[in-house]
Amino acid sequence: MSKNNSFLTDQKRDARKARPSSNSWRKWIGVVPFFIFALLFILLPSVNILAGAFRTNAGRFTLANFAGLFEPSILSAYWVTIKISLTTALVGGLLGFLMAYSVTVGKLPKAVRNMLMTFSGVASNFAGVPLAFAFIATLGRTGLITLILKNVLKLNLYALGFNLYSFWGLSLTYLFFQFPLMVLIITPALDGLKKEWSEAAENLGATRSLYWRKVALPILTPSILGAIILLFGNSFGAYATAYSLTGGFINLITIVVGSQIKGDILYNPGLGYALAVGMVIVMAVMMAIYYYLRRKSERWLPR
């Protein structure tokens, strides 16, 4: 009996030897660049910002930078940035969802889907100076579309109250990269809706809208929430587009941070760092809300 047992033990040992170890350090090689980038460009700068937020220009410890966050102009900058981020995340999310719906559930021709996906891939990454210039060239005071509308349709956008260099103008510009991002994120989720679910609902007597309310939307909610938070963050951190378009005319928090860190007149890096910490807190609050809503909406998912 003991002999048999020792034979089994030997067999197990041999089997262990024969199988390559799953804990090999080699499998980590692929992610080394990620960790290097994360360390150099996320972790160290974050630590530097956090430490800088508690220092004066002379390097002494202070809480004055955080006290500065409560100045009316800075609170207003946060508020405007949150408003523009929420607006573009919700409107961009809605537009992107409707477009993705049309090419997936709506069964538009495949060519339209391919076109939309290619455009979205490009447009979601089209931001900064080129995007600002594109909008100035088309919807600026002397932009192409502004002039066409004015001369051909006798529709003077600016006389009607539109202004590219305003909150709504900037929001419109942001939407150019926001809705394509939504299309890219939500299309796979819509593809994941099984045809049998809608057929089963219909077979049980439900209308299309009831199916969407009771089944499809609840299933999509975690994906929609994830996409909206991503769109919010995408807009909240945008700097170059807003700066190029408005030249600081709109009081966005990213522009205020920029002016404190590299500005000639308002140079106060300590306050700039504190503002950046404030942005991290806003995003953390948004993430916490997102996490709460997501937990509530995905109770049915396997854990």
């Binding site: 049998e196 679910w197 609902a201 077979n203 049980l204 009771k214 609840p218 299933i219 049915w300």
Partner: protein, 349 residues
Amino acid sequence: MAFLTLKNVSKVFGNTTAVEDFNLEVEKGEFVSFLGPSGCGKTTTLRMIAGFELPTSGIITLDGEDITYKSPNQRNVGMVFQSYALFPNLTIGQNIGFGLQVRKMPKEEMEKRIDEMLSIVHLEAHKNKYPHQLSGGQQQRIALARALAINPRVLLLDEPLSALDAKIRVELRLEIRRIQQEMGITTIYVTHDQEEALLISDRIVVMSQGLIEQVGTPDKIYNYPSNEFVAQFVGQLNLLPITDVDLENGKCLLAGQEVRFEHTPGRIISESPRLAIRPEELQIGTGEGRNALKGRVESALFLGAVVRLRVDIGGVFLSADFFNERSRTLPHSGDEVVISFPEYSCWVM
């Protein structure tokens, strides 16, 4: 008048005719299976009854009412899908109650009905679970309960067992039949599994390439297949080349040996006639009044309850199935054997 009728129903997708001139009458409480290989049009026909596909031509009536172009949510037919199609965001109770909620059934009554349905499928303890917490077989039972909860006029099942493993499949098909008989509900069942169809159906509709090949009771379909397709699709069949066919006297030659057969007048005989005989009709050794063919065993396959011999009859190979009995010594490869069968068990086609 029949409860469910399909009259000259056809369905064309682009250049492909999925269903052609389909005619069927189903009585109330009857269990009818659509049997055929993939792409034969059985699911398309079922989907036309459910309203998910509209016929290109023809009429479908249910309980005297023309439902051909009625939308699926107004037909009051229950459907069970191959992939269960349970709503993953709803609990088992909510899934079963979905159709009842649509019908605005009072909450108390609805809960009672849900419990009743859960007890029919023996899953009372799972009411508050989500579909992913149940096995495939349990999910399919819930799908069945959900379809039945609305008291449908007809129950449609689209290959409901094909995603399940063999053991569960065997259990569940009997359960489906039990529930159907208990509730007396008219049922259309789509399957490509001939054993399943033979076991649970009152009648079987054998289909191929969009056409009905034969409609009949399971024993009729198996014992009296109307053509070669049905004979080969339902069960195992030896189709052996023959010569010197004498239909009048029911005689022919198989590898030079005489075989007598029963000929049904009107049966269509092909240009190159063949003798059809099921493997289980064959017997080792001779018998009075039986056809006897001399041959050599080419192989013997042990299948558990059955042993399958492949016998070479002068260059013509046939399969013969025998029950495995411990007391019997079965022939081995190379053994000379005599295979016999009664003349009524074979036919020429």
